[in-house]
């Protein structure tokens, strides 16, 4: 799965630590999502979408099958 989390975060000039704090997860988790090493659960994806005020599909998109 691909995502635009890093771009959205940088648009708001947030560090990974800032975003992690708002989502109540660790900085490592944000880093793993941004680098595509970890796909978040649906509840966390919804929290991310709510924080950035965007639909989930605007942030996450399916990768190559």
């Amino acid at each position: 799965m691909n995502n635009h989390l890093r771009r959205l975060r940088e648009l708001r000039s947030w560090s990974q630590g800032d975003l992690a704090e708002q989502l109540e997860v660790s900085r490592q988790t944000i880093n793993a999502i941004e680098t595509g090493k970890y796909d978040p659960s649906l509840p966390l994806a919804f929290r991310i979408a709510k924080l950035f005020r965007q639909p989930i599909e605007a942030i996450f998109e399916p990768g190559k099958e």
């Binding site: 109540e24 997860v25 660790s26 900085r27 490592q28 793993a32 090493k37 970890y38 978040p40």
Partner: protein, 203 residues
């Protein structure tokens, strides 16, 4: 879910380790010298409460972790369970075949818990690294790895000195000193890595 205070977690684990070592060293020698069954039972089980406290703190930490951290904990616990199960069953077969003396078997049983914790830590560190984290989680939330290893070396040297003063040429002293040396080398390695990481700009 709120994140645990990792520095406080490290301190609590270290404090429990110190209590465990002190209780073990001060009470355990009485186990074999006393003939009173209740005193023997109390002395034999005296090191257990600090270990239960460690398990409780670890359980709280896992409960308060986020979803990726919980996944790495699960991987670590899964690998540790497999390794410890294999070691236990091999030791069990050897003991049943009378290839291991009863004394050796009890020593193996005492080492099951430390083995579980060591394999769990290594496997969890490896899993965290696969997800792009640090194997030893050196970040602002946690006590740096070099400090943890330095503390471990201090405890090991203290233990070695105690055993040496109590029973002179006990072979356990060599093992404990070797453990301390490994921890000192690890502390120096992680200190150098920590200094280098501090110089890099944050992401």
């Amino acid at each position: 879910m709120a994140r645990d205070n990792r520095r406080s977690y490290d301190l609590r684990i270290m404090l429990a380790m110190v209590v465990y070592v002190v209780v073990f060293m001060s009470v355990w020698p009485t186990v074999r010298s006393t003939s009173e069954p209740l005193v023997k039972l109390a002395c034999a089980l005296a090191p257990v409460p600090p270990l239960l406290y460690v398990l409780w703190v670890m359980a709280l930490r896992i409960l308060r972790s986020d979803e990726l951290q919980q996944r790495t904990h699960l991987i670590g616990l899964g690998v540790a369970t497999l390794v410890v199960s294999i070691v236990s069953i091999v030791a069990g077969f050897l003991a049943a075949a009378e290839l291991l003396a009863l004394d050796t078997t009890s020593i193996i049983l005492v080492w099951i818990f430390p083995l579980l914790i060591i394999v769990y830590s290594v496997a969890r560190g490896y899993a965290a690294r696969r997800y792009g984290g640090s194997a030893l989680c050196d970040d602002d939330e946690r006590m740096p790895a070099w400090q943890r290893f330095a503390f471990g070396a201090g405890v090991s040297l203290f233990l070695a000195a105690f055993v040496f003063l109590r029973s002179g040429g006990n072979p356990a002293v060599d093992v404990i000193v070797a453990m301390a040396l490994v921890q000192i080398i690890a502390a120096i390695f992680f200190r150098l890595r920590y200094v280098r990481a501090q110089r890099r700009p944050p992401p």
